[in-house]
Symmetry: C2
Subunit: 416 residues, 2 copies
Amino acid sequence: MNAEIITIGDEILLGQIVDTNSAWIAQYLGQADIAIRFITSISDRREDISKALLEASSRSDFVIVTGGLGPTKDDVTKETISQFFESPFVRNQQVLDHVKQIFLRIGRGEMPISNYTQADVLECAQVLFNDVGTAPGMWVERDSRCFVFLPGVPFEMKFLMEKHIMPRLMAMRSQVRVYHSHILTAGLGESFLAEQIADIEASLPHYIKLAYLPKIGLVRLRLSATGTDANLLRTDTENFAERISERLKEYVVAKEDISFEEAIIKNFGEANLKIAFAESCTGGTISSNLTKYKGASKVFDCGIVAYANHIKQEVLGVNKNTLDEFGAVSEQTVVEMAKGVQRISGAEYAVATSGIAGPSGGTLEKPVGTVWIAVAGKNETVTKKFQFNNNRQINIERSAMQALLLLWNLYVKESI
Amino acid sequence: MNAEIITIGDEILLGQIVDTNSAWIAQYLGQADIAIRFITSISDRREDISKALLEASSRSDFVIVTGGLGPTKDDVTKETISQFFESPFVRNQQVLDHVKQIFLRIGRGEMPISNYTQADVLECAQVLFNDVGTAPGMWVERDSRCFVFLPGVPFEMKFLMEKHIMPRLMAMRSQVRVYHSHILTAGLGESFLAEQIADIEASLPHYIKLAYLPKIGLVRLRLSATGTDANLLRTDTENFAERISERLKEYVVAKEDISFEEAIIKNFGEANLKIAFAESCTGGTISSNLTKYKGASKVFDCGIVAYANHIKQEVLGVNKNTLDEFGAVSEQTVVEMAKGVQRISGAEYAVATSGIAGPSGGTLEKPVGTVWIAVAGKNETVTKKFQFNNNRQINIERSAMQALLLLWNLYVKESI
């Protein structure tokens, strides 16, 4: 089945929002072995919407369209698709009752007229009832193709995908299966990894593809097999994954499709070890990155965001002399921060960051992008200085990532 | 100028990464009045790449292609474009020296053979030298159209855009100007806002478009004017923006294109007020969201991520009896957490969260998604209970957002 996604909304083409819906949909459909082949983002212009639908219907069996279904005038999708499918609107009473109900619950009095039109659906469509919002989804079948129209609000889109779309897809899916196997590595660049496994890569059968997905300090390897025999695909892919893992042993963090943070939660959790964070320049980002994932509470009790020097002293117990003599951005300070939060939390491992995230605050000696990181472990404390660049958000993101890499390395060293 | 973006990489179509490059490029080009009309994501398949290039050359003057330029075998973009433009490769000595230099610096010995090919560029292209990575960019002109090929690694792409692409574009840009004006509102849904300003919206001239961009608790209004007289566009748009702001006064958070967090930093900063956070279920996300933005240090000194109960007691001073009697997820606990971090930090405002983010940990009385938030202000402490759903990351994101909305409301109330 050839599937594609069309996202509609000026805000995407202006770069005001990042299209996270498409990645979610792609991943979600991947579970049903449906591969997305194209993702197109277009503006709220009638002609672009018509053109994109026409193109999609020439190459895809299944087309998911998100966005543009709101009640305000800038949302022109519905009128455009009414013309495209040559299908008039009918007002759906169940949807109308539901929309009225929502407005009643908010208790703001009379419902705006524009919301009545949200109950208007294409005559040719099956209505996908939206329990969690006002805009219903629509499912249109035309010339043995399926078009699905969903609101762009992420949780409404996800609700409709889970409740209505997936069950229908499971019923129609074809015999072609895709099997993925993942290996997450840390500490070696992609071309070096490729060299180490060149012979294995060369021996892959034509139906298994190997991809390298690098990300600050990490490379994810993905083996993807396509075919009809699910068992064979799994066995073959897992065999190759095992050979690669064995070869790259010292760099392997996880043998499944999980994030670095999840791998840390898993490993520390199994070893009954806790981690604490004392963050200055990363401002809570390391804590936030870790607690995004379930099971975080098994390894994490406490984070202190000590943004100001007086908090570094009063809460973390950093010595005033240390701050005066070496400054907040120094090896000495991050070591005391790490040991401070280790003491407060009782955690075996503690990570501390202090740096100049920018865009201002730099000096000749410590320019913007200077970051010190310390990790206090069971026996040892390690530190590292980084010199990043001028972009605040990138500096924070890379510092948070490097801090976890340092933590991982010390953990591996102390676990041998 | 019609511009479009093509992003290449299986990882995008599998939903393994979110394409943030496109939003960045769109926003960045917007500064030069260049509007992106299409964003297409395709996989690393030769036929899809050729097809996308062909389509783009039929409708756009300027095409930016990112990704697929890495040294490993899964990256087929270069070979495909060599065929597409019927242009052979030439090895660029300057690029080769640079790539070798990078490997020398890493100090891992001999450079892998695959990296030599990174110095191979299309004969018909102008080379965009990449100071910060190994894959050079390429600029190809063909039939009065421009094609630009950039690596997919975000900071390399950004470097090339800033250093090479923008200067060239500024030199070629046309006379058409686009002017945007933004109003950020909190506390009223988009259809209610639309009703309140219906007469103003109806009176907009044809060259000004109004868009509503809703996001949990917030709606951003964007007026976009297109024309040739930059002064006229600015004056007209700003006049309408002013009329709308005046009408919606009580809901307006900012009259510029900034995030809610930036508006908070600006307002609290100007009022010389500090904010502190005591986070449980949000796990540092509120601190992280705020400190993402420059100037955060003017309003923020201290955040405590008190994930475990013993940290709530020992660090924040929450009463053991409170935890025993009402539980960690309770109004009483979040109030004590907020007051605790207010005392520790000396901040005028303190925000506390405690809830069950999920996916496990719920009970009949307090199901997954139950979240208590407290804001302690100068005179008053307010609390609110939320019942979100089953998705951990969405629960965290919404809790963090609602916490700042509560903070904002109390601030507005106490500032009158």
